[in-house]
């Protein structure tokens, strides 16, 4: 029984949720019940009141009807007549007792008397004085009527019950009618549309049919609007698809461009760990199949191990400033004469990722180098380059010098610890040092002397026309001393040193090349003897001979 009840409750809940008809019917039934009950209670009270009033009126009328006879009965103290009257009154259902008294005695008493009536029963007594039929001023007796309110009440209740029942029946019929109307005019067409909409395939061109009876009402409008919505949805889908195709095509193009690009492209995180790259990246870094990076594991620093320090600097520079920076790297294998250079450019993408570009700049580097070679001046320091030195040395070597200053000295200067500076502070740091040294050299020679940087950290000074040899030594020592002073590079104090080899041109059988060789040998001798020294090339000795270095200043 309980189970059945639960199942019914569940079923009812489901119906209420899913069926408008059920919901509407229930709402109407509930409303009719509430309204019906309140109306019924109102009606029953009003019916009861009316009934009561009617009863009272009836009693008054009743009393008026029998009044004359009662007057006579009381006047004559005629108990027979009085009994007659009392019997007559008792015929009324609302009257439960009658008592007629005249001159202090009871003429007639029928039914319950007011005195014997039980308390609690809602009875009431109507007492009417009776006057003489011949003298309205003479009171001859009184008539007491015991009214049975219960009877009146019962009658009224019966009446109100009947009207309540009628109302309930009416409410039930109205509810049923509304339910049927809702089903036929609203639920059924909506369900039909819903089913149709459920089956409709978008982009099949199918549309909802407007129910014939609802063409001009809200349902018709709804269907039209839904159709419009479907149409616009289809339009949007078509546009979307076209856009997607266009996007795919452009993406494929982009991928193709990236794949086929001569430029190496890659993305890495803020630690340098590679995420993606294109074939040109692999090619430019000259990676063997074993060296191929693994996405998310291999870093650029691992791939370019020899340049790891500089790559880290570049990475930090990019991330701290948010700008892109580039770096030229020499990819030539050790001992190779080929010029292989790449340029790595990093563009930060936010704080955690960088996009990189790698270009082969071998050709550019090559042409730079050749251009530099073609020129006589070193671009970095403004000193003569090898070519300039060769040209100018030849000129001063063979030019006759004045008697007083007949000496020609060549100082071969090589920097100590320069490679370390380059490794720590990069090319830029190295370049700063080279320019600093160039400045030192320029300050320590006279006008007319030659200063050159034939390459790397190698400098050559040609002292033209000195009076005695010790002057050359003096200059060399001054230079060594000055170079040894700390140099400031980006707030860091850097100390390098210099080793100097000095050779003097000989009066006979000498050549610029031989002079340079002797100076070079002397410089090596100085280096071997310990850095920061000045060594003189021995006189008239074979170039192979090892000179004795002299101590440098301090």
């Amino acid at each position: 029984m309980r189970l059945l009840h639960n199942r019914f409750t569940r079923w009812l809940h489901a119906r209420i949720r899913s069926s408008i008809v059920t919901r509407t019917t229930l709402a109407i039934v509930a409303l009719s019940l509430i309204l019906g009950l309140s109306f019924a209670s109102f009606v029953s009270t009003s019916v009861e009141r009316r009934e009561q009033q009617r009863g009272e009126l009836l009693q008054q009328q009743l009393l008026s009807t029998i009044e004359r006879t009662a007057q006579i009965a009381c006047y004559l103290k005629d108990s027979t007549l009085a009994a007659e009257i009392a019997q007559g009154l008792m015929r009324n259902r609302a009257v439960s007792g009658v008592s007629i008294a005249a001159g202090g005695s009871i003429l007639a008493r029928v039914g319950n008397s007011a005195r014997t009536a039980k308390t609690g029963i809602d009875n009431s007594v109507i007492v009417r004085p009776i006057y003489s039929p011949f003298d309205p001023a003479e009171r001859v007796g009184e008539l007491a009527l015991l009214v049975d309110r219960e009877a009146i009440h019962a009658e009224a209740s019966a009446d109100s019950r009947a009207s309540t029942l009628a109302m309930g029946l009416q409410a039930a019929l109205v509810a049923m009618g509304v339910a049927i109307a809702v089903y036929y005019f609203s639920t059924r067409p909506i369900r039909a549309i819903s089913t149709e909409l459920h089956r409709i395939q978008i982009e099949s061109g199918a549309r909802l049919r407007v129910p014939a009876n609802n063409r001009y009402d809200e349902i018709g409008t709804l269907v039209t609007d839904v159709n419009a919505l479907i149409a616009s949805l289809e339009g949007l889908l078509t546009t979307e698809r076209q856009l997607r195709i266009a996007h795919e095509v452009s993406e494929r193009k982009m991928r193709l461009i990236i794949e086929k690009a001569e430029t190496g492209l890659f993305v890495m995180d803020n630690h340098g760990v590679l995420e993606s790259w294109n074939p040109a990246f692999v090619r430019l870094l000259q990676l063997t199949p074993e060296q191929l990076p693994q996405s998310g594991l291999t870093s650029l620093q691992q791939l370019l191990e020899t340049h790891a320090v500089r790559l880290n600097q570049l990475l930090n520079q990019c991330l701290s400033t948010g700008h892109s920076y580039d770096l030229d790297l020499n990819m030539a294998p050790p001992g190779s004469s080929r010029t292989v250079w790449i340029e790595v450019t990093l563009n930060p993408i936010g704080a955690t990722a960088l996009q990189g570009v790698i270009n082969d700049i071998s050709d550019r580097k090559q042409s730079e180098l050749s251009a530099q070679e073609m020129a006589s001046q070193d671009i970095l320091t403004g000193l003569l380059n090898r070519r300039g030195l060769d040209a100018n040395l030849g000129a001063v070597f063979y030019k006759p010098l004045p008697e007083s200053a007949s000496q020609l000295a060549l100082l071969q200067i090589d920097l100590d610890l320069f490679k370390e500076v380059n490794d720590i502070y990069g090319h830029a740091g190295g370049d700063r040092v080279l320019r600093h040294v160039a400045g030192v050299l320029e300050r320590n020679v006279r006008r007319g002397d030659l200063i050159a940087r034939p390459g790397g950290d190698e400098f050559v000074i040609v002292l033209v026309g000195i009076t005695d040899r010790s002057k050359a030594e003096e200059i060399a020592n001054a230079i060594v001393a000055e170079i040894e002073r700390p140099i400031d590079i980006d707030g860091h104090s850097v100390q390098i040193g210099a080793s100097v080899g000095i050779a003097f041109a000989q009066a006979e059988g000498d050549s610029p090349e031989a002079l340079a060789r002797r100076a070079d040998s002397a410089m090596y001798a100085a280096k071997r003897a310990g850095r920061g020294r000045v060594a003189l090339a021995p006189e008239a000795l074979a170039p192979e001979a090892v000179p004795n270095p002299t101590n440098a200043v301090a």
């Binding site: 006879t69 006579i72 006047y75 004559l76 103290k77 005629d78 027979t80 007549l81």
Partner: protein, 143 residues
Amino acid sequence: MCLFLRVLLILALWSVARADGTQTLVVIVNPSIGVQHLSRREALDIFLGRYRTFPSGASALPIDLDINSNERKQFYLLLAHKDPADMSSYWARLTFSGKISPPFAVADGHMAVDIVANNPNAIAYVDRASVDNRVRIALEITP
């Protein structure tokens, strides 16, 4: 002769009474009953059957006049303010109980006077003109 004269006189008086439309009704009793005076109500109560006795306690026998007589009409009209129809209705109601019946009616005042004169308990109303010394006037009914 005497009878003739008396008849003539009565007729003359009657005609006079008729002519000016005024009669003076009086309630008469037998002098032996000892009733000197009756109020209008006392007289009416006896004639309407409420009391069967005089205020003194002696039994009373009301005598009505003919139902169509002017005196009867006048009497009830003046004392009870009821017309003959009302009075008929009154008595008709009482026929149910059967306890009280309307007073015995006589044809005219003389007959009534005779009855009162001969019956100590009798009481009647008559035109003053009909009264003789055998009866006592207990009440004079003036309009």
